[in-house]
Amino acid sequence: MNLHEYQARDILKRHGIPVPDGDVAQTPAEAQTIAQRLGGKVVVKAQVHAGGRGKAGGVKLAAQPDEAAAHASRILGMTIKGLTVQKVLVAPATDIASESYVGIIVDRGSQRPVLMVSDAGGIDIEEVARATPERIYRLAIDPRYGLLPHQGLGLALRLYRDLAQARSAAAIMANLYAAFYAVGASLAEINPLVVTPDGRVLALDAKIVIDDNELGRHPEIAALRDTSAEAPSEVQAREAGLTFVKLDGSVGCCVNGAGLAMATMDLVKYYGGAPANFLDIGGSSNPQKVVDALRIITADPHVKAILFNIFGGITRGDDVANGIVQATRQFPLAVPLVIRLTGTNEAEAVKILTQAGFSALTDMDEAVRQAVARAAT
């Protein structure tokens, strides 16, 4: 789950990391009030789950509160990378002497959280990694011991020659690491970490992504979810317990298991079609999940045919068959349905489908070929 910048800032602040003052606004008037309170120059920043906000015009400086309101009114409602801006952060415009990057992710290779720092902050860190990898310093942290003081200081000394600044940065790294585990993050980054002209080290912008598997034990973090900032179909899918990603093709796919779902999409393409979505109904299916899945798929007007590919393991074929029957009773399908179903309780499933007037295939290639053909007509 992505957090907004203002939410990530709050988490950093709670973990003792210095961030500039500021607050979030949903209207130009609120933005004006905040700017007034802050005094001086402010920056108005779009809060959306997308990079490149600056280039898109979502970040503006304002000298006066009424200018802040004017910027807010332009930015609120703006669309950046397909997402509508609903909130802006209004914060003091900070003078900057230098910009660095500090981030933590879990690395699959070392199986540890990795702390990455770079003196090339303020810009796209992936671009830095590509163009000048020697400017990124990495440290795999042993979670049995945590980030040790000398490790943080050693990295901080790569960013700052001044010992006091390096110590501040090292403390920020230690707190970021603590926050990373405390909120159950899969990514936590400060970009840029700035030094002000008077020598203070501040986190100017922050990004935190939460591991969805952590949300159950962090209800206060789960409550930060902003569904207004996500695609409605994906919100709907998540609430139904499905994993769904919208794509551009015409073959709607409903599969059990992520690997099989991807292989199914690949096979659709192999036979000349284009998948309309990725959809994994997961392991412990029940009929309702199938109903919800069909509702989401059929909401996409580009879908010309729907392909079920079910290989029953934990997923029981009869559950899926019942779901298909229930769904088609609740809302008639406007597009053809191709069902491939094998594995656990296959016989019961075929019986249920046959009684309801559907036929089921057992061969994956055959099913995909048929679905692609039906979508093309």
Partner: protein, 289 residues
């Protein structure tokens, strides 16, 4: 012969009285797996289905039944604790089926298990099966046939698909292993490939990978340098858009390193025969054997 599990496997089931645990315990017993004990705290002393003794702790179960492997079906919030407990009790093999375990839990579980010398398979995996010998986990027994092909996969149902293709076409399996799709797992491709290479009952190996991470590239390197047996490979996710998350936490594409195209190229370069679609597994195996 087989890999990791065989007729000597004396299995403990953690979470035996739960919804998934009880269902799959019956399946495993029906398949012939020696399920010697179960654990559910507070239910010690009440035999499961009247036959499998249940204990409060893994330590008690091991002491009483000499279980040497465990399979975990407990809910995600308790799964890390179940793995710690299994490792603490000296389990040699720990298979964790549970999905939805926080990655940060695994950053601590993995070194713990490793320090105690246990092999962890998973989490978020379908387990493994050595046909006619032992089934540990949830891979449907009826799709497998005994034989001489090793299968290792990051996926669940996609594995069933490919195993089904193999069995239907006369290629039985020595062992099929689902290593799990999470970013941090206990047993990776290389561990399995190296076991299959050493297993006299395995003639060829099928590797089923997917987008995300670089495990497949490392597997390719291992195959090139350390394997003499033929390897057939598949990568799911050719049509996955870059940067989108595809259900498995493991399937986040980072840079270009995790794309299907790059992985397929690494496979091909290492001498692995690359399937374009699941059904290719049979002709490619025929070619190489």
């Amino acid at each position: 012969m087989s890999v990791f599990v065989d007729l000597e496997t004396r299995l403990l089931v953690q979470g035996i009285t739960g919804r998934d645990g009880s269902f799959h315990t019956r399946q495993m017993i029906a398949y012939g797996t020696k399920v010697v004990a179960g654990v559910t705290p507070g239910k010690g002393g009440q035999p499961f289905d009247g036959v499998v003794p249940v204990f409060d702790t893994v330590a008690d179960a091991v002491r009483e039944t000499r279980a040497n492997a465990t399979v975990i079906y407990v809910p995600a919030a308790l799964a890390a604790s179940a793995m710690y407990e299994a490792a603490d009790a000296g389990m040699g093999l720990i298979v964790c089926i549970t999905e939805g375990i926080p990655v940060l839990d695994m950053t601590k579980v993995l070194p713990y298990v490793h320090e105690r010398g246990a092999r962890l398979i998973g989490p978020n995996c379908p387990g493994l099966i050595s046909p006619t010998q032992s089934k540990v986990g949830i891979i449907p027994g009826n799709i497998c046939k005994p034989g001489r092909v090793g299968v290792v996969s990051r996926s669940g149902t996609l594995t069933y698909e490919i195993v089904h293709q193999l069995s239907s076409n006369g290629f039985g399996q020595s062992t099929c292993i689902g290593i799990g799709g999470d970013p941090l797992i206990g047993t990776n491709f290389i561990h399995c490939l190296s076991a299959f290479q050493a297993d006299p009952a395995t003639d060829a190996v099928v590797v089923i990978g997917e987008i995300g991470g670089t495990d497949e590239q490392q597997a390719a390197e291992f195959v090139q340098q350390g394997m003499t047996k033929p390897v057939i490979g598949f990568i799911a996710g050719q049509t996955a858009p870059p940067g989108r998350r595809m259900g498995h936490a493991g399937a986040i594409i980072s840079g270009s390193a995790g794309t299907a195209a790059e992985k397929m190229a690494a496979f091909a370069q290492a001498g692995i025969s690359v399937m374009k679609r699941p059904a290719d597994v049979v002709p490619l195996l025929r070619e190489r054997l």
